[in-house]
């Protein structure tokens, strides 16, 4: 068995090399075919795309084959493989470290490239499509080069190694590791498609709305996957890490959040370009930012620079990623500059009090927010590079700046859905915002009635109710007009997503502001109480296998179900990982962790209890965001060519 498995290394290396050839010649064919308008050359493009895609699939399969067979001749398997890792976590161990995750990236990227080439197979001689495909091949070439150079997954390992430590313990105790990285990568890599079409549009000069409309659904789905990936990451942090929170503003989280911010601004701002042909430079800039920030994020998390800036020169992955980031930014900005004249929009914004004005303000708020998070993430790096001292920019910095940003965005969510295009009057606004405003007052009254305190959370609840009212108003009007079809389409699906966001904002405000914790020394058989709940230590549970020893305390909460916070000691690594146990309900979560050291013989356990209000609404909100994204992707009311591009505004007596 090992003899056959030993082929994985050479096969994988060969596959990656062939993939690079495919991408390289695909790029050449696409560029030359487009420039000389040669059909025969262009017909080679799908072949190279397929070659590149099949190679990436083969390389990924080879890696999985090596992992499943525990082929320790490869350095990567020596790093993350182990005889004692269970099958499922062994499978996911492939993307638990750098080299394997590049393989996953390539898999998604080459499949997307083939998908684009297939979808546009009848339009391959359209220069815009040609240049878009060329761009995708270019990105593919970069990642293939990474696998043949600094991030070689099939590098030969030291001889004579018979077992490995397995993946990081935190990556082998929860099923989310199967979903979170691939979904997140679908989001990251998916952003390459609208970016490629933007480059195609800029090169061909067709910077109107055509490329936007083509890539509308790609952008929406990529954003959706990125959103889902971030929410799954938060859920994982909550369920696995044991510190009882969902978001810590650490560099890896920020690396996924910053492109999400610019991406969200983008999917809103494109509406203005589609309707009025405006904000073209904004849209291109936001899209370029989103894509390049995914590369910068990969650089920040994979090069090790945030641990120490000196890691930059130690491994060569850092310079490669940063150089690629630089190339993308410089080329994109140069293209935008070159097409500057063509990007003049035919119209201007009539009035700040209009949907266009609101979207413009939206762009600004999201961009500033993205800048602030980026600044906080790279500031330690810059200071260390210039002054050679370590500096920490931690949660208090981000929290202080994120709260006003979030409240501003909530406010925009209140007002923008009711704003008509072109111009609104105060009267119109007052008329449309009346009932949503009462929604806000109701939410505020309810929270004050329930005992809430604190200015920022109360303001969040009030604005949340207000924005929820605005979103519901749109949905009610649409369903009155069209029945169930009133839930479908961009505007309506968007309102469902907004409601999801509002739920998340409210849940975050409640759980961050009103959590209470207590340390209880539980004696077996004695009932302790905290905050109106009872806790009883029933006993202990110990399990041991080749991989780990688990000691869990069995705690009966409120005389009902038993919850088992545990400490797992991984034998191969020697670290202890605490696993929390959570009792969830719609109103609050009771989060239990066990403090080391655990002395089973003493029949006592030190348990830390967190009472966290409204955490379940985070996941419900996340689910609604996903549902809303799907609803948005469906075509809405079919627009007749003779329909006005924006709704008629009721006329006023004064002009």
């Amino acid at each position: 068995m090992l003899g056959v498995a030993g082929l994985a290394g050479p096969l994988g290396r060969a596959a990656l090399f062939v993939g690079l050839i495919g991408a390289f010649f695909g790029l050449i064919a696409a560029v030359m075919g487009t420039r000389s308008e040669d059909e025969k050359v262009l017909r080679l493009v799908p072949r190279f795309a397929t070659l590149s895609c099949v190679s990436a699939i083969a390389a990924f399969a080879a890696m999985e084959w090596a992992m499943i067979n525990r082929d320790f001749s490869l350095a990567y398997i020596q790093k993350v493989g182990s005889k004692s890792t269970p099958a499922l976590y062994n499978f996911t161990a492939v993307w638990s470290a750098l080299e394997g995750s590049i393989l996953l990236w390539l898999l998604v990227l080459t499949c997307l490239t083939s998908g684009i080439v297939f979808k546009y197979r009848d339009r391959i001689n359209d220069p815009m499509v040609g240049w878009a495909v060329a761009t995708m091949f270019f990105v593919g070439i970069f990642f293939f080069i990474l696998t043949l150079g600094p991030a070689n997954p099939f590098a030969v390992g030291a001889p004579g190694v018979l077992d490995g430590p397995g993946p990081n313990p935190l990556l082998q105790n929860h099923i989310l590791v199967v979903f979170h990285p691939p979904i997140l990568y679908l989001g990251y890599v998916g952003m390459t498609v609208p970016f490629a079409f933007a480059i195609g549009a800029l090169i061909t000069g067709r910077v109107g709305e055509g490329w936007l409309v083509e890539t509308r659904r790609w952008a929406l789905f990529s954003w959706g996957f990125l959103t889902l990936g971030i929410i799954l990451g938060s859920w994982w942090s909550y369920e696995v890490l044991g510190w009882s929170g969902v978001w810590a503003w650490d560099p890896v989280e920020n690396a996924s959040f910053i492109p999400w911010l610019t991406g969200t601004a983008y999917i809103h701002s494109v509406l203005v370009q589609e309707r009025r042909g405006m904000l073209r430079v904004w849209n291109l800039s936001l899209l370029v930012s989103t894509f390049s920030l995914t590369i910068l994020g990969t650089f920040l998390t994979r090069s090790g620079v945030l641990n120490s800036v000196h890691a930059f020169s130690e491994s060569s992955i850092g310079p490669y990623l940063l150089s690629f980031f630089a190339i993308i930014v410089v080329v994109s900005v140069a293209l935008i500059g070159w097409r500057g004249q063509k990007l003049h929009s035919p119209g201007t914004i009539d009035s700040p009090l209009s949907r266009e004005g609101a979207f413009l303000a939206n762009n600004v708020v999201f961009s500033v927010f993205a800048f602030v998070v980026l600044l906080g993430t790279v500031f330690p790096l810059i200071i260390e590079a210039f002054q050679n001292r370590q500096l920490v920019v931690g949660e208090p910095f981000f929290d202080k700046l994120a709260v006003p940003a979030g409240l501003t965005l909530l406010f925009l969510m209140c007002v923008a859905p009711v704003l008509p295009w072109r111009k609104a009057s105060g009267e119109l606004l007052a008329d449309r915002l009346f009932w949503p405003a009462w929604g806000g007052i109701g939410a505020l009254a309810l929270s004050v009635g329930l005992g809430a305190t604190g200015f920022a959370p109360l303001l969040t609840f009030a604005l949340g109710g207000f924005a929820g009212g605005a979103a519901l108003r749109q949905l009610v009007l649409a369903t009155r007009r069209q029945g169930l079809r009133g839930f479908v389409g961009r505007a309506n699906g968007g309102m469902v997503v907004h409601i999801g966001v509002i739920l998340i904002a409210v849940a975050l405000a409640a759980s961050n502001s009103y959590t209470h914790s207590q340390e209880l020394l539980l004696k077996q058989g004695v009932v302790a109480t905290f905050d109106g709940h009872t806790f009883e230590l029933i006993g202990f549970k110990e399990e041991s296998d080749a991989r780990s020893t688990v000691v869990a305390a069995m705690v009966r909460v409120d005389g009902g179900k038993t919850y088992t916070p545990a400490i797992t000691k991984y034998k191969s690594i020697g670290t202890n990982i605490g696993t929390p146990s959570v009792k969830s309900s719609f109103v609050k979560d009771i989060y239990l962790t066990i403090e080391p050291p655990v002395k089973v013989s003493s029949k006592t356990a030190k348990i830390k209890v967190f009472i966290k209000p409204m955490v379940m609404w985070l996941w419900i909100g996340g689910g609604l965001m996903g549902v809303g994204t799907l609803l948005s992707a469906f075509p809405g009311r079919r627009r007749k060519p003779t329909d006005a591009t924006s709704a008629l505004v009721p006329s006023e007596t004064s002009a």
């Binding site: 000069g205 067709r206 890490l241 044991g242 510190w243 929170g245 810590a248 650490d250 560099p251 945030l306 201007t348 914004i349 009539d350 009035s351 700040p352 413009l360 303000a361 600004v364 961009s367 500033v368 800048f371 602030v372 600044l375 906080g376 500031f379 330690p380 200071i383 002054q387 370590q390 500096l391 920490v392 920019v393 931690g394 949660e395 208090p396 910095f397 007052a430 009346f434 009462w438 806000g440 007052i441 505020l444 009254a445 929270s447 004050v448 005992g451 809430a452 305190t453 604190g454 200015f455 109360l458 303001l459 009030a462 959590t515 209470h516 914790s517 207590q518 340390e519 605490g578 080391p596």
Partner: protein, 161 residues
């Protein structure tokens, strides 16, 4: 229904909001447990061996040791939150400050967001003002020239979509 949506009613709504907010923000939020106090303090100390996580978040052994120290200091009951944070920061030679101080070059991390925000708001304001001026109703000479140029172009020119 129209009479409901008049400005006196909006004024009343505004007053209700102010009243509710005043009630909510000025009342006592209830007692904090010792554990809450420890949580709050550890959220302001950085773990010395991590990537900038706070001691509250980090599961590293150094973070756990600091949490235990904070727990001891809190149960001793003699120091305020700031004093506890200060004494631990002192022992670790300033390496565990979780946010940069507002002095020297470190203050840039606080100043730049505010500067960018001010520029952004100023930019928006200037843009809106310009549009309001431009939309005074008369065609500017630029617009007239643009229309003439467009009218002169060949509508079948596919390059200029």
């Amino acid at each position: 229904m129209k009479y409901l949506k008049t400005w006196p009613v909006w004024m009343l709504m505004g007053l209700i909001v102010v009243a509710l907010l005043t009630v909510g923000t000025t009342r006592d939020s209830g007692p904090l447990t010792q554990s809450d106090r420890i949580d709050s303090i550890t959220k302001h100390i950085a773990c010395p061996t991590c990537d900038g996580e706070s001691v509250f978040v980090s599961r590293a052994s150094a973070a756990e040791a600091i949490r235990n120290q904070v727990a001891r200091d809190v149960s001793a009951g003699t120091m305020t939150d700031d004093e506890i944070i200060g004494s631990i920061a002192n022992t670790f030679n300033g390496k565990v400050l979780l946010v940069p101080r507002a002095t020297g070059i470190d203050s840039l991390v606080w100043i730049m967001p505010i500067a960018v925000l001010v520029c952004a708001v100023a930019g928006l304001w200037a843009a809106f003002r310009r549009w309001r001026r431009d939309n005074s109703g008369e065609a500017s000479s630029d617009d007239v020239a643009l229309v003439e140029k467009l009218l002169a172009e060949d509508p079948t020119d596919e390059d200029n979509v």
